[in-house]
Symmetry: C2
């Protein structure tokens, strides 16, 4: 396993981690400057932040500061209650692929979607097998476009507590089954984004990471699971403050061939998003070199 203690060369900051500082939304340009000031070499920005800052401007800023992407957040949300909705989702995913390409991202992360409408509180249907079939079809269609653009798609299995409203692919095994079905040749154009928060509990995690192998392991996200966890979405912990065995999981990843960034993605409405952004980045660096 790589030694992360000497520096933070392999640290990436998912920009959601500091999208709010002292409770207030911070524009992407400012976030990128902050990362550069802390000598952070990689980020993973969100589409809405890029849209607000401008795609071209963001690409120029990243190039000027020599900051790379560890991924682009995010495509997905394929299921829909009708044909028009399914078509709109495919079009939106094509735009996301184009943006990822413009930013020279190594992959587009897919939060695949779940029961349409559930996120807004009213599911249009309850048949999760139907949602999963729509996800499969959506990824299959998007993969054609992704291949032509040369932009790998990374399915992110989400924690089962988000199966109803955000992503109906909830285990690494399930994500890899889909990869094997849609990309049996292991072309490198379809794989997974592994976020420890979503998968740490899985008794089959080590076995499935080994199964995934280098071609399928496109991104690695870290944070921690707090006890107690007070919110299903935005109470993630700083690495080292929870119960996830970070070193053990990174060992499995690297044994399987992963050699990329460790991307910090922390949604923390009640704690970190209320703090100072530079304190947050300094803490990410300290934990990256000591516990990740």
């Amino acid at each position: 396993m790589r030694d992360f203690s000497p520096n933070h060369e392999w640290l990436s900051i998912n920009t959601a981690t500091i999208r709010k500082q002292r409770g207030a939304e911070v524009p992407l340009g400012r976030i990128i400057d902050q990362c550069a000031a802390h000598d952070i070499r990689a980020i993973s920005p969100w589409r809405d932040q890029v849209a607000a800052a401008g795609l071209e401007a963001t690409a120029r800023q990243l190039k000027a500061l020599d900051i790379r992407l560890s991924g682009y957040c995010r495509g997905g949300f394929f299921p829909a209650p009708d044909a028009a909705g399914l078509k709109a989702a495919l079009e939106d995913n094509r735009r996301a692929i184009d943006e990822a390409k413009a930013l020279d991202a190594p992959c587009l992360v897919l939060v695949v979607g779940a029961l349409p409408g559930a996120l807004e509180g009213q599911a249009a249907y309850k048949n999760i097998a139907r949602a999963r079939a729509e996800v499969r079809d959506g990824i299959a269609a998007s993969l054609e476009y992704a291949r032509s653009a040369g932009m790998p798609l990374a399915i992110e299995p989400l924690h089962p507590m988000q199966a109803a409203d955000r992503a109906c692919i909830n285990t690494l095994e399930h994500a890899l089954d889909l990869c094997d079905e849609l990309d049996p040749q292991r072309s490198g154009m379809l794989g997974v984004a592994l976020d420890v928060y979503h998968v740490w509990w899985d008794p089959k995690l080590a076995e499935q990471i080994a199964r995934a192998g280098r071609e399928r392991l496109l991104a690695y996200h870290v944070c921690d699971w707090l006890t107690p966890t007070r919110d299903l979405l935005s109470d993630r912990g700083m690495m080292g403050d929870g119960v996830i065995e970070l070193r053990k999981i990174r060992t499995w990843m690297e044994d399987a061939g992963y050699a990329g960034d460790a991307e910090v993605e922390i949604f923390s409405a009640i704690d970190w998003w209320q703090r100072d952004g530079d304190e947050m980045l300094a803490t990410c660096i300290a934990r990256h070199t000591s516990v990740v």
Copy 2:
């Protein structure tokens, strides 16, 4: 599949469902009388409620009212930071088996435990594989006693969002792997309690229910998954108010040979526990006959 529409013969009430009424704790004796008044023929009581009401008195009351148990809640919590803690857990599980026997329960439900101390906010260790080994050893030891007492043990896989603090067995597949290891002869003395809330999201659910079969399917719990879910523990929904495909899952259970009760277990601090207990029971009956 059995037709539940004519009556509620197969409805059981887990007593946690109405342990609080209009925000106040209600004693078990009163809960049992309420169930009898609604012609509910089965309950699943909790140990602390039985301890407060008295084991003998509870057994007498149930017999007088001809109310059976669908299970007894609960044994488990095997992992501990030291040998004394592991031993204490085994002794406590023997007492739980004795109580289940005194109440003529069909099974003792096991919430197996997880990282010791995590429930109190500070895990004594983070090694979930160690917790799982301690669970295996604890069930193996308890199973000997359970066999001698003739009291089946039902492992309840809990939702992965409770993997850190309540139960480190989080899928039906994992629970059944353990059953196969410890009771390869399928004696009927070790099986699972399947709660739809914990497993509804699992893409392997149908396959694993079929694998379980009649000898392993010892209990069936129902409620619903709300969108949004506002709390990780106590925001369960009334059957029909969420996104779980209840009829589909019961079909799988009955196709596999299950012919027992559908036990309603709803923890709902912010909604149902604030309401009237008789309204709650009447609603359980209405939903049992219409959507379960």
